[in-house]
Subunit: 381 residues, 2 copies
């Protein structure tokens, strides 16, 4: 069994208000090409297919194109699970009517695990797609007592362990945050306060686990418990990541081996720093001046329309920082602002700034539950 | 070939802010039952599956249930086309992957007509599903000159006429406004100013035309060019309509015969009139007091909390009119307000009321194009 593991396509996502649809089409075409040239038996997408529960119509049309090429033209089966960004009901509509075509979408969580058996040229395998599910959802669907993400995942995996795969290797597809994983700025937290972490050990017993959620390719605990990472850089904090899909091959004993197949973006996402004059000069010969750029200007003097000047050379400057005008302390602060802060921290800052008082414990608690609720509503609306 | 023709499900629609999802599930279950007991070869839904281009998740889940029962459990093929209320890209996602299951969804308009051949116990037939398409869409897709809905439809039907159906009867499925058709308040106009009308003659040559858009069951021009009407009353102006699905049977010569199979609503939609005291008294023995009601009170005196009193007996009063307090003139005016006015008329009234001046021709033109544009954006967003 040989397949491509990818995740976090986030079709329809914007970067600093810039639509990425053309960039996404460009890299999705590469994934289709890789599936073809590497002659894989399947493509697996481990959640966050779309960026929002209600994706724009153009994003739906792009995914439709990709599905038609892979499933109808190349006859390569495609397995997709809903991630925390996806609308589970919307994504899962009519999925039972698609299965025979080779398109397998796992939308809302259901009580019974429905494994997908795929034929491979070198042997078959059983895929267990687990859509993203927070503890409340698992409690509701299974009518059981779980309060952490770890307990919820253990509950779901129990079914996988108990299922008789008729001797076939078991491949789990899941969307969660493994304890110890490296975050970047562009993943929306699964819960506030760290209760979203799941031990990698839960997945040890399976032949392979194809994970989604974290945007940098990595494995945790064991080599066969892996994140493929996103297909594009979705924030400047990912500027040094190398994006790829993971080619997974199971040998006759069900042991997995891996190869990272690099993806090339139509435009890179990167940060450039220096004096305005130097950057403008360098831009003249910069073959990649159409990249999406964050520019950090070290000039210490006022500059009229710095953004306009930069964009005349680098058309896709998305963000400008005047680091030369900041004290060392504020520079660190700003970079932390951009790179690390989630909704809760941003609101706490805002609250303190506006009210002049830090939030009380009761207020923090109210805010935490409001944010959780909003994420839930967004997922199911 | 024997099939059920239905249309204008409008799943997710509200009536005066009241969710109709339970009512819709109730009547959809009847349609499924009728398909089963009448042993039909197919069910055809002629557009406006959902009420909005972005239906609520619960509406998507309900349609998924219906599709699973019909297509997977009963093995009855289902053909659905996008109407003017539907989001074509969203509805059409992965439709190529569903066809083999017996689920046929015709989403966005494409250049080539893709007929669906269905097997019937008494003979096969060829179904031509034409999604709702305004003249601008037809111009864009076919790169041709059409400016009215009539010309646009003629262009689409040209393909149907030219297609070689191998001797099989041709059944057209379309969503449009036939000239002479009877409107009710709950259909959104296809265009402003009457340019949306299509001659029934265009459809004469086909063995049957299954139409959607108008909510009352009716035929125009010829008996085999038919609207099935909506499955529920979606406005008080439809109170006297009898809702049904149309059972269509083609004989060996391809000639169609019809039977209207009545649908029963969980709660009826109706208007009651009289003095408050009389209505409250009558309500005590009214077995249908849970119906959705518009109440017209003929009392000529002030009444404290009339709505509260009515709802203690009729829990689903959705609208109250104090006709007893109105002069004859304003009564007629009000009823026209509720029953007939589209967005344009409502805005004109509002404008006149606020500005004290009637709209100029230029202002009317601007408003017309703004409304058209909004409908277009809603359909494609």
């Amino acid at each position: 069994m040989k397949f491509i593991h990818t995740s976090d396509w986030h079709i329809g996502r914007q970067l600093h208000n810039q639509s990425l649809l053309d960039d996404q089409r460009f890299v999705l075409n590469q994934i289709v090409e890789l599936a073809k040239t590497r002659d894989v038996d399947a493509v697996v997408v481990a959640g966050d297919i779309y960026d929002r529960s209600i994706p724009p119509a153009a994003a739906v049309a792009l995914l439709d194109e990709v599905v038609n090429r892979l499933v109808n033209e190349l006859k390569i089966p495609l397995i997709m699970i809903a991630g925390n960004h996806d609308g589970h009901e919307r994504l899962g509509f009519a999925s039972r009517q698609m299965n025979d075509s080779g398109l397998h979408i796992i939308g809302p969580l259901t009580q019974e695990v429905r494994p997908i058996e795929l034929k491979g040229k070198q042997g078959n395998a059983m895929f267990y797609g687990l859509p993203y599910a927070d503890p409340a959802t698992v409690r509701h669907v299974f009518d059981c007592e779980v309060s952490t993400h770890e307990e919820a995942m253990a509950k779901l995996l129990e079914q996988v362990s108990e299922h008789d795969s008729q001797g076939l290797p078991k491949i789990v597809v899941s969307h969660c945050f493994l304890d110890g994983g490296s975050e970047s700025e562009s993943e929306r937290p699964l819960s506030i306060g760290g209760a979203d972490k799941v031990s990698p050990k839960l997945f040890n017993a399976f032949n392979y686990t194809a994970l989604g959620h974290l945007h940098g390719p990595q494995y945790k605990g064991a080599e066969h418990v892996r994140y493929s990472g996103s297909m594009l850089k979705y924030s400047f904090s990912e500027q040094h990541q190398n994006k790829s899909v993971t080619l997974v091959e199971l040998d006759r004993d069900g042991k997995a081996s891996f190869e990272l197949l690099p993806l090339t973006a139509m435009r890179d996402v990167r940060i450039i720093e220096g004096l305005l004059a130097d950057l403008l000069e360098a831009g003249k010969t910069d073959l990649n001046r159409e990249d999406y750029l964050m520019v950090r200007l070290s000039d210490k003097t006022a500059i009229l329309d710095a953004m306009g000047k930069l964009r005349s050379v680098y058309p896709n400057v998305l963000h400008l920082e005047r680091t030369g005008l900041m004290s060392e302390g504020s520079k660190v602060e700003l970079s932390r602002d951009h790179i690390k802060k989630g909704e809760f921290d941003m609101f706490t800052d805002f609250f303190t700034q506006v009210s002049g008082e830090p939030m009380t414990e009761a207020q923090k608690l109210a805010m935490t539950s409001a944010i959780d609720e909003l994420h839930k509503v967004e997922r199911t609306s």
